[in-house]
């Protein structure tokens, strides 16, 4: 149970650092990592994202000693009002220049408004809604890692092409779930498949037996899970119990993180197909980074959201350093769009005019228990989707920044 709330300031004396000669506002570049630290999505971002941001700051300042970077963090408890209040306070009172992470689409949308109003920078990693680079795009947003379009197209196309042409959805009755279902249905139909039905369950449902029964009765070849977090985990666990896969249907997790798979265990989750933006075992630089991360994070390996925070902060600092200023958010984001992205996790990529970062996506399959050689060796790559195909085409987004 979470409680909502906001901000207090104990600054008895407010001395604004408005010295016109300071290169960076307040003398430091301050980045705020805002996410769910205490409930449902704490494992996906949480304190791990703060660590990732700190690692990025340390790596960058090692080679750019003239820059001072400070990382702060707060818990938005998955509530848009809490998130926007924290963002406001950070900008008004605490001299924060950029906000990073914010998984939970509803909070991201609210925070994006505040960022735009105050002309700062929003480094989004882990929020799902593709509206952030579409209808709700702003000149201050940059969106890393995944979004609903990427997930739907990555997983949907691959599965339909393999023969999974009839689908039944288990959808979380939330705007995010609906969007994921809608995006995936569109892909299925565009590839010649059919959607046989959907069961929309309330958020935080423990028991999915009734919905799984409906899925079985529909005889769809694929049961798509348009939900996240505990709901996805419970759906998968109970799907295994009800013999969905043994009965000949396959399960498609539309949004899955390594921490979800880890908490399910390979016995239950093997064979699951899903799309991710990053996995630690893709290549040597990623492996090296992940081991460094895990050593500081209780042995837990990083999720794609946390990797996104690392890359985002690094690229932001690059832009700020190139401009020698962090005051004008839009200018910094424009610089981020000019410079190509390049980091050890996502490799080389670009930031599009609508704020979407283009990097490859990967179709993954969860390994069988006997295939896994270590605690976090959980999946293998089935297919790589190149960066220019992984994300929604520029013209289809409806972003006002896209001209012509």
């Amino acid at each position: 149970m979470q409680f909502a709330r906001s901000l207090l300031l104990s600054a008895a004396v407010a001395l604004c650092a408005t010295a016109a000669h300071a290169q960076y506002s307040g003398g430091t570049v301050k980045i705020g990592v805002l996410n769910d630290m205490s409930s449902l999505y704490a494992d996906i971002g949480g304190p791990g994202s703060v660590l990732a941001a700190q690692m990025a700051a340390d790596d960058f300042t090692a080679t750019h000693k003239d820059l001072k970077v400070e990382i702060v963090s707060a818990d938005h408890q998955n509530k848009p009002d809490v998130g926007s209040a924290i963002a406001r306070k950070w900008f008004d009172q605490d001299g924060v220049d950029a906000i990073a992470d914010v998984p939970t689409s509803s909070v991201a949308l609210a925070v994006a408004d505040v960022v735009k109003e105050k002309n700062k920078v929003f480094l989004i990693s882990g929020a799902a809604t593709s509206d952030l680079t579409g209808k709700a795009c702003t000149p201050n947003n940059v969106h890393w890692t995944y979004d609903t379009w990427m997930l739907a197209h990555g997983t949907g196309t691959a599965i339909v092409k393999q023969g999974g042409d009839t689908w039944f959805f288990l959808t979380s009755d939330y705007a995010f779930g609906h969007q994921l279902e809608a995006d995936t249905s569109e892909v299925v139909k565009a590839n010649g498949g059919k959607v046989l039905g959907a069961a929309r369950h309330p958020l935080n449902t423990s028991d999915f037996s009734s919905f799984l029964l409906q899925a079985q009765a529909s005889k769809a070849k694929v049961v798509g899970l348009a939900n996240a977090g505990g709901d996805t985990i419970n759906s998968i666990k109970q799907a295994s119990e009800f013999g969905i896969v043994q009965g000949g249907q396959s399960l498609a997790g539309l949004l899955l993180f390594i921490t979800d798979v880890h908490s399910l265990g390979l016995q239950t989750a093997h064979g699951l197909l899903f799309t991710t933006a990053w996995y630690w075992d893709l290549n040597d630089p990623s492996r090296e980074w992940a081991k460094k991360f895990a050593a500081k994070h209780d042995g837990k390996y990083p999720t794609m959201g946390q990797a996104g925070v690392y890359a985002a902060v690094l690229h932001y600092l690059k832009a700020v350093s190139a401009l020698k200023s962090d005051a004008d958010g839009k200018a910094v984001v424009d610089e981020m769009k000019k410079l190509p992205t390049d980091d050890q996790l996502f490799g080389k990529g670009t930031v599009r005019v609508d704020g979407r970062v283009l990097h490859p996506a990967y179709l993954m399959e969860v390994k069988k228990p006997e295939e896994s050689k270590s605690e976090w060796d959980l999946m293998k790559v089935r297919q790589t989707i190149p960066a220019d195909q992984a994300f929604r085409p520029l013209s289809e987004g409806g972003c006002p920044l896209v001209k012509g």
């Binding site: 449902l40 309330p202 977090g229 505990g230 666990k237 119990e241």
Partner: protein, 295 residues
Amino acid sequence: MFALLGIPPQALFGQLLIGLINGSFYALLSLGLAVIFGLLNIINFAHGALYMMGAFFAWFLLQYLGLSYWWALILAPIGVGVVGVILERLFLKQLYKLDHLYGLLLTFGMALVIEGLFRNKYGSSGLPYQMPSALSGGRNLGFMFLPNYRAWVVLVSVSVCLLTWYVIERTKLGSYLRAATENPGLVQAFGVNVPRMITITYGFGVALAAFAGVLAAPIYQVSPQMGSNLIIVVFAVVVIGGMGSIMGSILTGFALGVIEGLTKVFYPEASNTAIFVIMAIVLLIKPTGLFGRAH
């Protein structure tokens, strides 16, 4: 007729059976709450957190001591029951003379603390707990595939519910308990150690919650939130059944399971809310619940 409902009869029977199975689980989970309220007049908001502790206890046993599910069924209720007894002695005892409200607020606070501590330590995704191999798999009943574990859940729940009801309503120990809560002074004058009975009763209610937790571990993800997701449903069951009536909670648990199951078929988004609609209706027509006695 079935065609009008938009669902073939076979599928409907399957859903009804699922509803009954879930109902039996609700009945078991609500049983502990009903015992505690019925006999002690405490509205135990910590019930969900204690259920969660039962599931975690089972996980501990497996992870660190290698003790299987079958051991957990016995040890977890005892372990968590002891915790319950300690909580009762330390905190709840002081509130018996006051209004129900304070007991509710205290147990609400306890629930927050317990859940927060577990979340701090174990994160929110939860931990894996494997199905015991003797109960895995299932059989095809024709109209649906019934996992063996679910059949087991019904059997155990019904047995424990009936056993508890029998002990409380039909045995001498049970009558002592009931008397002790109706008129503690008089019963104490007869030489019965009333405070001890109350503590044991609370411990027993808590043990029932933990038992339900162990039952849930193989099918619901063992996570710190698992209790708070269910606590409201459990409350609704107890209120509708009649706060204080053991049989009322049991029967209502089953009934609500079935109604929820049907809602999941026809209007799944409302499956959580259907319970509240029923609660509102019952409270307006018969406030002491379907089987309740006035308190």
